[in-house]
C-alpha cells in the first residue's frame, strides 16, 4: 500500500544544504503495523511527516519516491494531496496538549476531516463524530462533543486526536510518538486502543517512537534509524532478539528493563538526612478582589517519610500525583505548607525535569554555574571559576563548555550542566525531579550512571522523582508511591516490586510491563 524508496530530505538553510534523511526505504502493507524507532534527531519524524505530505516548507527539498496505492505523492499536486490527507492518510501527533486548536470545540475538530472530504449535512457529521468518540472509549461522548480542549486531560485529548484522525476511516494512520507525553497507565490504554482499531478496522499503522518497548509490543516490523539513515530493519523478533548492527545492540541494551545497575546497594547507614512528618501543601487560587485564597487545592496530603544518608530513594507517581509539589515543599519553595520537615544536611538542591527551560539562554554556562557561589559565598572570581571547572569535569564535560551558551548544548549535556549546578554548593541531598524524562534512552542511561557515581563517590543522597518504574527500579533502594497527593505505599524495592500491597501500585507495575 505504501512504498517509500530512496527518500532524501534536505534542508537548504543558511547556504549549506544539510541532508537530514538519507536513502529512506519503507513498505507498509494493508492492515500492518510498522514501527520506526530512533532517538531524537534521527530523522524518524521528518520521514513520517514527508509521507503525510506535511513537509511543505520551501527550504526543504525531497527526492526519491513515496508511492501510496500506486500514486506518487512527492510529485502529486497540492490539490490532489489534500484529497488524500485526512481521508486516506491520517496523522496523530505527539503533543495532545497543543495539537488541538484551543478555541474550537472538540466536536468541530473531530468532524473536520469528514466535513472536508464529504458532503454530509451537519447532523450526520455530529452523529459520526459522537460515534467515533465513543469508539475511542470516551464514554461521555455527547458531552465531550461540546467541550473545548483545555477542559480535557492529556489522555482524553489524545483519544480525541485519534478519533479525529480515524473519522474518515483512513487506510494508513501515521502515529508520531502518540504516547510519549502521557502517563504510563494512559500509555498502555492508548496502545491497546490502537491495537484494537488495527484489528477491527484493518487500518495500517506507521508507528514512530523512541520507546523500544512500545514498538516491541505493537509492531510486526520495525525500522531502526540513526542520524538520518536506516541502520537496520526487519521483523520485530529478528531486530530485538538478534540485532545485527552495533547501534541497534546499543539501543536495545540501553532500554531500562527492570535490571538493577549492579553496584547500587541499599544504604546501611542509619543516620537520617531528611525527615518529612505529616506534610501537606496546597495551592491558593485567587478568585476575586475579596476572596483571595478562598479556593484552595490540597496537592499533598499528610506525607511522612524518612531518608537516610547515602540513599537513593524513588518517589513514583503519575502526573498530578503531587510528587513534584512534595519535592518543592521539602526544599521550602512553596509558601502554604503544613507539617514538619527536618533537614540533617545543609543546602539541599533540586534538579528539574526540563533541561531546556531550566538554564537562562542569554548567559554562559560559566556564569550560570557560578551564580550560587556569587550569591551565597564571598569566593572571588578565580575560586568560583575553579569550582565550576571542577564540577563540570565531574559531570563529564570539559572546561571549554564554560564559555558556551545553553543553546549550543544537547539535551543530555544541558542536564549534566543542571547537575553540575546543583553540585556547586556541595549538597549532601539532591532532589532530582524527573531528570531523565526529557532525554533519549542512551542519554538517559548516561545521566543515570552519573547520578549513581555521585551517590557512590560523594555520598550524596538522592530523592529521585519519576513516573518511570523501570528507571526507578534501576537505581533506587527504597520507593514511595504517590497518587492524588497521598503516599499510598512505601517500602524497599523488593517489597514494592515483588509484593505490592496497594492496588494502584499493582496497576502501575502492570502498565509498565513488570512481570516478576
Amino acid at each position: 500500500m505504501l512504498n517509500v524508496t530512496d527518500l532524501h530530505i534536505e534542508i537548504e538553510d543558511s547556504f549549506i544544504p544539510e541532508t537530514v534523511v538519507h536513502d529512506f526505504d519503507i513498505t507498509v502493507s494493508a492492515g500492518e503495523i510498522v514501527g520506526i524507532v530512533g532517538e531524537s534527531g534521527s530523522g524518524k519524524s521528518m520521514s513520517a511527516l514527508a509521507i503525510a505530505g506535511l513537509l511543505s516548507r520551501k527550504d526543504m527539498k525531497k527526492r526519491g519516491s513515496i508511492l501510496f496505492e500506486g500514486e506518487e505523492l512527492l510529485t502529486t499536486p497540492r490539490s490532489r494531496l489534500r484529497q488524500i490527507q485526512g481521508d486516506d492518510i491520517a496523522v496523530v501527533f505527539q503533543e495532545p496538549m497543543t495539537s488541538l486548536n484551543p478555541v474550537k470545540k472538540i466536536g468541530w475538530q473531530v468532524e473536520e476531516a469528514l466535513r472536508i472530504h464529504s458532503d454530509l449535512p451537519d447532523d450526520e457529521l455530529k452523529k459520526a463524530a459522537i460515534r467515533m468518540l465513543k469508539d475511542v472509549e470516551l464514554d461521555d461522548a455527547e458531552n465531550i462533543y461540546d467541550k473545548y480542549p483545555h477542559e480535557l486531560s492529556g489522555g482524553m485529548r489524545q483519544r480525541v486526536m485519534i478519533a479525529a484522525a480515524l473519522i474518515c476511516d483512513p487506510k494508513l494512520l501515521i502515529a508520531d510518538e502518540p504516547t510519549t507525553a502521557l502517563d504510563v497507565t494512559i500509555q498502555a490504554q492508548i496502545i491497546e486502543l490502537l491495537k484494537r482499531i488495527n484489528r477491527e478496522k484493518g487500518t495500517a499503522i506507521l508507528f514512530i517512537s523512541h520507546d523500544l518497548s512500545v514498538i516491541r509490543s505493537l509492531c510486526s516490523r520495525v525500522v531502526v534509524m540513526n542520524k538520518g539513515r536506516i541502520v537496520e530493519s526487519g521483523s520485530v523478533e529478528e531486530v530485538f532478539n538478534n540485532p545485527k548492527e552495533e547501534y541497534t545492540k546499543h539501543l536495545i541494551g540501553s532500554i531500562p528493563g527492570f535490571t538493577k545497575i549492579a553496584h547500587v546497594t541499599q544504604s546501611e547507614n542509619t543516620d537520617k538526612i531528611l525527615e518529612v512528618d505529616n506534610v501537606s501543601a496546597r495551592y491558593k487560587k485567587i478568585t476575586g478582589y475579596f476572596q483571595i485564597g478562598s479556593k484552595q487545592k490540597l496537592v499533598v496530603k499528610n506525607a511522612s517519610f524518612t531518608m537516610y544518608k547515602g540513599e537513593i530513594m524513588g518517589l513514583v507517581g503519575e502526573s498530578g500525583s503531587g510528587k513534584t509539589t512534595l519535592g518543592k515543599t521539602i526544599l521550602g519553595m512553596l509558601d502554604d505548607t503544613e507539617g514538619r520537615i527536618v533537614h540533617y544536611s545543609q543546602r539541599p538542591q533540586m534538579i528539574f525535569q526540563d533541561p531546556y527551560g531550566s538554564l537562562n539562554p542569554t548567559k554562559t554556562i560559566g556564569w550560570i554555574l557560578e551564580e550560587p557561589l556569587r550569591i551565597n559565598t564571598d569566593y572571588d572570581k578565580e575560586k568560583r571559576s575553579a569550582r565550576a571547572k571542577e564540577m563540570l569535569s565531574l559531570v563529564g564535560l570539559d572546561e571549554s563548555y564554560l564559555s558556551r551558551k545553553p543553546n549550543a548544548l544537547s539535551g543530555g549535556q544541558r542536564q549534566r550542566v543542571c547537575i553540575a549546578l546543583a553540585l556547586m554548593m556541595d549538597p549532601k541531598l539532591i532532589i532530582a525531579d524527573e531528570p531523565v524524562s526529557a532525554l533519549d534512552v542512551t542519554v538517559q542511561e548516561q545521566v543515570i550512571n552519573l547520578l549513581v557515581k555521585l551517590n557512590k563517590e560523594l555520598g550524596i543522597s538522592i530523592l529521585f522523582i519519576s513516573h518511570d518504574l523501570k528507571v526507578v527500579y534501576e537505581l533506587c533502594s527504597r520507593i514511595i508511591v504517590m497518587k492524588d497527593g497521598v503516599i499510598v505505599e512505601q517500602g524497599t524495592d523488593k517489597e514494592i516490586y515483588d509484593n505490592p500491597k496497594d492496588p494502584y501500585t499493582k496497576q502501575l507495575l502492570l502498565s509498565a510491563g513488570y512481570t516478576d
Binding site: F93, E95, S99, P102, I116, T287, G288
Partner: protein, 313 residues
C-alpha cells in the same frame, strides 16, 4: 456574574479616582475661576464676592462631594464661564466627539485586519515589504502632524473637504460624517499600522503551532487553515491591543479636534481649562473615563467569546 460585579466596582473606582485627581490638580495650579473671569485688575472685594457666589470658599472635600452627589443624579452644575447648564452644553457636543472616536476605532479595525491578513499571507512577496515599510512610516508620525498633512493634501490640493468647514450633525448628517472622515483617518492610521503589524506577527507565530499541523493533516487548504483555525487564535492579542488603544484614540481625538476646528469635547476642554471652568472640565473628564471603561468592558466580554479558556476564570 462575579465578573460583572468585579467590573462594576472597577468602573466606579476609576471614575471616583479620575475626578478626584482632577479636583486636586485644580487646587494645586495657581489661579481660579474668579481670577480667570475678572482678570488680574479686579479688586479683592470683587474677587471675594464672585468666589462666594461660585461656592469656591467652601472646603475642598465639601466641594468635591457635593459635585459628586449632583453628578451622580445627572446634575453637572453650571458653567462658570457661560452661565449655562453643563449638561446641556455637553449633551450637544457628545455626538460629535463620540462619532469621531467610533469612526477612528472602526477605521483602525477595518484597515488593520484585512491588511494584516494580506501581509501575513504574502510574507515573502514584495507587496508585504511595501506594506511593512508604509506601516512603519505611518506609525512614526504623530496624529496631529498627520492631521495637518491630511488637511493639506485632501483639503487644499484635492479639495475633498473644506478645512474649517465643519457641519454639525443636526444640520446635515451626511456632510457631518463626510467632514469627520478626514480627522478620523488622521487618528486611525498610526493605530491601524500598529495593529496590522501585531496581527501579522501573531498570525506568523500561530502558524508554527502544533494544531496548525493537525489542521493540514486533515486536508485543509492554506486558506482554510488561516481562516478557520489561525485567525481566531491570532486575533486575541490584537483585541488586547485595540482595547488599550481606545483610550489613546479618545485622547487623540481631543487633539485632532483642534487641528480640524471641530467643536467637540477637545476644544471645549482646552478652553475650559484655560478659564478654570471646573464644572465643565470635571464633567468632560468623568464622561471620557466612563466611555473608555465601558469600551474596555466590551473588549473583556469579546475576549471571553473568542477564547474559551478565559471563560472559567
Amino acid at each position: 456574574m462575579k465578573t460583572v460585579l468585579k467590573k462594576s466596582i472597577t468602573f466606579i473606582f476609576t471614575v471616583l479616582l479620575v475626578t478626584f485627581f482632577v479636583f486636586i490638580a485644580f487646587e494645586l495650579i495657581p489661579g481660579d475661576a474668579a481670577t480667570a473671569r475678572l482678570g488680574t485688575n479686579a479688586t479683592p472685594e470683587a474677587l471675594a464676592k464672585l468666589r462666594e457666589e461660585l461656592g469656591l470658599t467652601r472646603p475642598f472635600f465639601v466641594r468635591y462631594f457635593s459635585w459628586l452627589a449632583s453628578f451622580f443624579f445627572g446634575d453637572m452644575g453650571t458653567s462658570y464661564s457661560y452661565g449655562v447648564s453643563v449638561r446641556s452644553m455637553l449633551a450637544q457636543k457628545l455626538p460629535i466627539t463620540l462619532t469621531l472616536t467610533l469612526m477612528s476605532f472602526i477605521l483602525t479595525v477595518a484597515v488593520s485586519i484585512p491588511i494584516g491578513l494580506l501581509t501575513s499571507k504574502y510574507e515573502d512577496r514584495a507587496v508585504s515589504t511595501v506594506l511593512d515599510v508604509t506601516g512603519q512610516l505611518t506609525m512614526s508620525v504623530p496624529p496631529f502632524f498627520l492631521g495637518i498633512l491630511v488637511t493639506y493634501i485632501f483639503g487644499m490640493i484635492l479639495h475633498m473637504f473644506t478645512p474649517g468647514g465643519f457641519v454639525s450633525y443636526n444640520v446635515n448628517f451626511v456632510r457631518f460624517i463626510g467632514y469627520l472622515v478626514f480627522p478620523a483617518i488622521s487618528i486611525a492610521l498610526p493605530k491601524a499600522a500598529m495593529s496590522t503589524k501585531l496581527l501579522k506577527t501573531s498570525i506568523l507565530s500561530e502558524r508554527n503551532l502544533d494544531y496548525v499541523r493537525s489542521a493540514y493533516s486533515r486536508g485543509n487548504s492554506t486558506m482554510d487553515v488561516l481562516y478557520k483555525h489561525v485567525l481566531k487564535n491570532a486575533i486575541i492579542p490584537v483585541i488586547t491591543f485595540l482595547g488599550m488603544t481606545l483610550a489613546d484614540i479618545v485622547a487623540g481625538s481631543l487633539v485632532i479636534e483642534q487641528v480640524f476646528s471641530i467643536p467637540g469635547y477637545g476644544r471645549l476642554l482646552i478652553s475650559s481649562i484655560a478659564n478654570r471652568d471646573y464644572p465643565v472640565v470635571q464633567a468632560i473628564i468623568a464622561i471620557i473615563a466612563m466611555i473608555v471603561i465601558i469600551i474596555n468592558l466590551l473588549v473583556d466580554i469579546l475576549y471571553r467569546v473568542l477564547d474559551p479558556r478565559l471563560r472559567d476564570m
